[in-house]
Symmetry: C2
Subunit: 282 residues, 2 copies
């Protein structure tokens, strides 16, 4: 009797353990399914949930996400890549918990200023592209990135206006078309055309708003992709310059020498900006 | 008596709960400390462990890590960014478990081909820079990235030779100095100088080896940073061109119009490569 009672209490304890674990897992990881390791030999390249194992979720409130992207840009100065990425994957974490909420989001600060201030890829684009790749491998994600990047090259930014919620400067901002996905060209061209300094509050505000613009386009692409699955295709054609240069310089052609899909024109059309600036300049 | 006995068993059950949770957490997340959410109002920007809350660990076996970087480059074609990032953060996950092993590593495929084949930032650099930012915010990580990127601009790649373990082509490969952190310039210049196609097996092999080279330099920087803490400083000075152009074009100067720290010369010294290629070419 004592024994069976102890056993029963033990069993109840066991249930309590399970209950506590489930309850606690809401804070710890709240895994919707048991994580599994599915890497190579000796556990090398093991990955919880397997490669591209996190499932994408549609985001219905796009204006709300844009607001988060813009706020994220300013949040502790973490910048464009953080704002764009958080407004997609972070919002899934907020709504659905794990695994999305286990991500070390602040690492997306790496993209600030075109990657640690080097002016390479636009950080908002990099954050959004990284979000696509959380869910999809290159065969499916590359066309999503191409759609986003081609749209960016040809769009006059910024579009978004946070109104009274502006954290840099309020009101309309002058726009420019970058013709490039590179932060250096995008920012410098905007500064050149608007006469506003690259290190001004206006320029910061511009990039915060672009973060929201990129968030919007990226979520539209992601939602459409989730809807259409493998059948999804982008709407934007390859840039004219890439097609033209690729006639000789792409895979299998007479001079297979080029890597990339960036618009060739900004750097290879002999503009004044790429002439020798080290002699008799200005 | 019954009551106190029940209370005691209950307490034991409580201990068992703690023990079970700790044991199970080895499979689920194995958190070394309780994750905490530390974001903004309404849980926006909440992040487990807080911003930059994952602790960096020194990696002692650098040749081993380089091997992993090289293998990672080839693993299911996930590429340079994956190889570089996994050889740093992934190895911490393999050795120390959570939180490092909760990362969705395959997302680093985003950097393949300079970000989804767009030829922007070199993916190996992007993967390594992203690894730095897992642990450090911009004030500490930007100098680490600058050291890595400046070294890359001036180094003749590839250096690493996997010997019999080569997965693309075996033997020595011709080298070139990119003078640029951009994939497009790095690859195209190498192809131009070596006469080996940008879409050749040799070029893939080159990039796999560079992934190991970048891994080595990145771990040296990370280990030194962990050792020296806030006192760590890079050894490489700002490039001459960036200093020269910055005299007029940086923050607070007469023409504050430039974003970035890339070597200016490849695009702004009037080389033949950036002349008008759309007229009378070749």
């Amino acid at each position: 009797m004592d024994f069976s009672r102890r056993a029963m209490l033990g069993a109840m304890g066991g249930l309590a353990v399970g209950g506590s674990l489930a309850a606690m897992s809401g804070n710890v990881i709240a895994a919707p399914a048991a994580p599994e390791m599915t890497g190579g030999k000796d556990g090398l390249f093991d990955q919880q949930y397997g490669l591209f194992g996190w499932k994408p979720k549609k985001i219905d409130d796009i204006p709300g996400a844009m607001e988060v992207a813009y706020k994220g840009y300013w949040y502790k100065g973490l910048g464009c890549g953080y704002g764009a990425f958080y407004s997609i994957v972070g919002l899934m974490g907020k709504k659905y918990g794990a695994p999305y909420n286990t991500f070390p989001y602040s690492m997306m600060e790496v993209f600030k200023g075109g990657m640690a201030d080097w002016g390479t890829i636009c950080g908002a684009l990099a954050g959004a592209a990284s979000a696509f790749f959380v869910f999809y491998g290159r065969k499916e994600a590359n066309p999503m990135v191409a759609e986003l990047f081609r749209w960016y090259e040809k769009t006059a930014f910024p579009i978004y206006n946070p109104g009274e919620a502006a954290q840099g400067v309020k009101g309309e901002l002058s726009t420019s078309i970058s013709n490039s996905v590179l932060c250096h060209i995008s920012v410098s061209r905007w500064s050149y055309e608007t006469k506003l300094a690259a290190n001004s509050k206006e320029r910061s505000e511009r990039c915060g708003r672009i973060t929201a613009d990129v968030c919007k386009k990226a979520i539209e692409i992601l939602n459409a992709k989730i809807e259409a699955g493998k059948d999804w295709k982008g709407a934007l054609a390859k840039q004219e310059s890439v097609t033209q240069c690729g006639a000789c310089h792409s895979k299998g052609k007479m001079s297979d020498i080029v890597k990339g899909n960036m618009d060739c024109a900004p750097c290879h059309s002999g503009s004044d900006h790429v002439q020798n600036k080290f002699v008799n300049h200005p």
